[in-house]
Symmetry: C2
Subunit: 270 residues, 2 copies
Amino acid sequence: MRDASPQGIYKVQALDRAFAVLDLLGESDTPLGLAQVASSLQLHKSTAHRFLMVLERHHMVERTSSGKFRLGLRLFDFGNRAIEQYDLRERAQPHLRRLVAETEETAHLCILEQARVIYIDKIEPARSVRMITRIGSSNPVHCTSVGKAILAFLPEDRIEEVIRRTRFERFTHRTIANAEALRAEIEKTHRRGYAVDDEELEEGLRCIAVPLLDAQRQPVAAVSVSGPSFRVTAQKLPSIANHLLHCVRGIAHDMGYTSSSRGSRAAWTA
Amino acid sequence: MRDASPQGIYKVQALDRAFAVLDLLGESDTPLGLAQVASSLQLHKSTAHRFLMVLERHHMVERTSSGKFRLGLRLFDFGNRAIEQYDLRERAQPHLRRLVAETEETAHLCILEQARVIYIDKIEPARSVRMITRIGSSNPVHCTSVGKAILAFLPEDRIEEVIRRTRFERFTHRTIANAEALRAEIEKTHRRGYAVDDEELEEGLRCIAVPLLDAQRQPVAAVSVSGPSFRVTAQKLPSIANHLLHCVRGIAHDMGYTSSSRGSRAAWTA
DNA sequence: ACGCATATCTCATATTTTGAGAGACTGTCT
DNA sequence: AGACAGTCTCTCAAAATATGAGATATGCGT
């Protein structure tokens, strides 16, 4: 739905429908009955039923005791396999834990997928206000520190590509509203070495992020620290940034991104 | 494949095939090319190609730079949504962290799905031998402490149902080999209050688990501590069990399983 | 006990998927 | 260089597949 493939489009109706069902169940925070699924998706009862039965056989959905449907645990399995192939998450976790211990605020690990950032992991300090982010969910780049952190270290053409695909949705009155402003912010971020989201996604929430660069000095992810603005004050930013830099340095090391400063393959892009 | 549905079977070939593709990619720890997928699944090139294109459009698979396919991040999103509906995981995490800090061994959180236990979460101590468990993966009940812990507190008929569906696969020479032995072990576990897996799944690995009981005193999950046998010694078991009990008590409290000792609805099952 | 709403199931129809094969690449060997 | 061996893309007629109208069954509320 999101992207109209440039070339000829391949269709398998059954798959589109099945994923629509999963989507629907994933969106809904309460299990849905057959009838609800069928009508929401404009499928006929029998069709919806057949799909749900097949999905259930594969444990992609499961039924509550009341006979309603919700997402199944097979998806959880698949999801973990999917993320494992990146294996960034596992290696990063100890470093994130330390970061949280040091800053006592929530840490996030994100990667850039298409033109959005996906939350790969989240670590919360012992006692804190629960953050609403769900691991696996995504946000646009223009309103997140992680998005800006990654963007700022991407090559020019990739930056422009991402910007072009960004809709500049507004979340608060501080949300960056256009490509121009974003470019300026990116520029600033690059110079400073860390990115800041000053209540641009959510009122009262301030985040700060730094990118994780691979051996070719390309950003593959970003780590952020987020907390209420009254705790994450402007004065603290440099100190937090230091913790962040230390953290990503550790991750980079564990990932084998030997920053043996034989860099400068930077110009090469693709 | 795993379960022959009792009643009439519903089929949607396309879905079975699509999931077979995802399965294949999930099993493989290296991305696969079109040809490999096609031949592994006995699909014709064009068919496999079409499926992969559609799956890619849905971000269920993605292509590496070399054009090979691997699982996509949409699955990660779905997986997290699926697990969120249980929300046990999030609430349990702080307690598991404490448990790991106390015992300095790996902690697992599992639930029973059908006749197997699924790993919902894993917390590892700062420095330890990496355990091979993948979150989201599953194991049979007969060779895991978590399996036995849950089983031991299930009503008789559920126990028998699970046992009936267990294949008693052998993993080490200590693996419980038949229903009889498992029943005895269950009995023992119930009396003792905690379950032990003494190198029954893996040579040199000892685990100990206790169940998490809901308001109706039904087991909904189990928490375990696992470590090398030379560290997790027989002498330490009672002490670890205490930490475990403390941990699940905390989780139960957070989940609102007010154990207001107005229990004894135990006889009621369904 | 009745009726409404929901789920389950069957089967002939035609829509949708299928797969053979031809084309377009890519890189590898001689 | 040239040609081979391996990929991946794409088209289209054939047919097997999924479809959905509707009939049946189940269950819930009053």
